[in-house]
C-alpha cells in the first residue's frame, strides 16, 4: 500500500521536498516507516531521535500499525508561542 508522507519545518529542507509517497507492506509500523524515510532521506536520519511523528492529526507511538490511506507527518520539535 502507498502511504503519503509530509515533512514540516526544516525537515522539508532536509528532505528536499515537503511530501512524498512510500510503498509499504501490510503490518508496517510507524517506526519501520521512519527507518525507510531515513534511508531515503539521509539528512533526516541525523535528527531521527528528536523527530515527532503524527498520523493524520494525532501523534502516534512507534508501534502504531499503518493502514492504507494514512497520512504521516514527520517534523522537528514544535516551537509555538
Amino acid at each position: 500500500m502507498i502511504i503519503a508522507v509530509q515533512f514540516w519545518s526544516y525537515f522539508a529542507d532536509f528532505a528536499g521536498c515537503n511530501k512524498t509517497e512510500i510503498e509499504i507492506e501490510n503490518g508496517t509500523t510507524l517506526a519501520k516507516l521512519h527507518e525507510r524515510v531515513c534511508e531515503q532521506f539521509p539528512k533526516l536520519a541525523e535528527a531521527k531521535n528528536s523527530t515527532l511523528k503524527a498520523v493524520g492529526l494525532n501523534y502516534q507511538d512507534d508501534d502504531f500499525v499503518l493502514c492504507d490511506g494514512d497520512e504521516v507527518s514527520f517534523f522537528p520539535p514544535v516551537q509555538g508561542g
Binding site: 509530509q6 514540516w8 519545518s9 507527518s73 514544535v78 516551537q79 509555538g80 508561542g81
Partner: protein
C-alpha cells in the same frame, strides 16, 4: 466552556480582542498572556520570526488542550490567537485569554495551555537575523 481559536497571518489586535470579551455571570478572573517576539534569539540579534504551522493539526491539538482544560478546571472561556508568517520584534505572536470564577484556575489553565502548546501544537519558528 466557550473556546475561540484563531491561527492567522494577521497582526494580533489585543485592544479589539479585549473589547470583544464576554464575561459570564460569576466569573471573577481574567488572565491574559501575550507572547512577544524578542529582539534576540540566543546570542543573535533578530528583526522578526517567521512562523509556520501544520494548521489543521495545530487546530486539532489546540482543541485537545481545550478539552483537557475543561476537564481539569471550572473555566468559563478560553481564547487563543497565534500568528503565522513574519512577526516583527516587539509584536505579539501569541495571545491567550482565560476567564474563570477565581484567579487560581485562570492562571493554572493559562499556564497549562501554553506549556502543552509548546510540547504538542505543530508550529515552528525561523528567526530572521538583523
Amino acid at each position: 466552556m466557550k473556546t475561540e481559536l484563531t491561527i492567522s497571518i494577521d497582526a494580533i489586535d489585543e485592544a479589539a480582542l479585549v473589547k470583544r470579551r464576554e464575561m459570564g455571570d460569576g466569573m471573577g478572573a481574567v488572565v491574559c498572556f501575550s507572547g512577544v517576539v524578542r529582539g534576540r534569539e540566543g546570542d543573535t540579534s533578530i528583526t522578526a520570526i517567521d512562523y509556520e504551522a501544520h494548521e489543521e493539526m495545530a487546530c486539532h491539538q489546540f482543541r485537545l488542550i481545550f478539552d483537557a482544560i475543561e476537564q481539569r478546571w471550572p473555566v468559563d472561556s478560553v481564547r487563543v490567537v497565534h500568528r503565522l508568517g513574519l512577526v516583527p520584534v516587539n509584536e505579539p505572536s501569541l495571545w491567550v485569554e482565560v476567564t474563570a470564577p477565581h484567579r487560581a484556575e485562570a492562571f493554572a489553565a493559562c499556564q497549562f495551555l501554553i506549556e502543552e502548546m509548546k510540547q504538542k501544537v505543530p508550529i515552528w519558528k525561523k528567526p530572521l537575523p538583523a
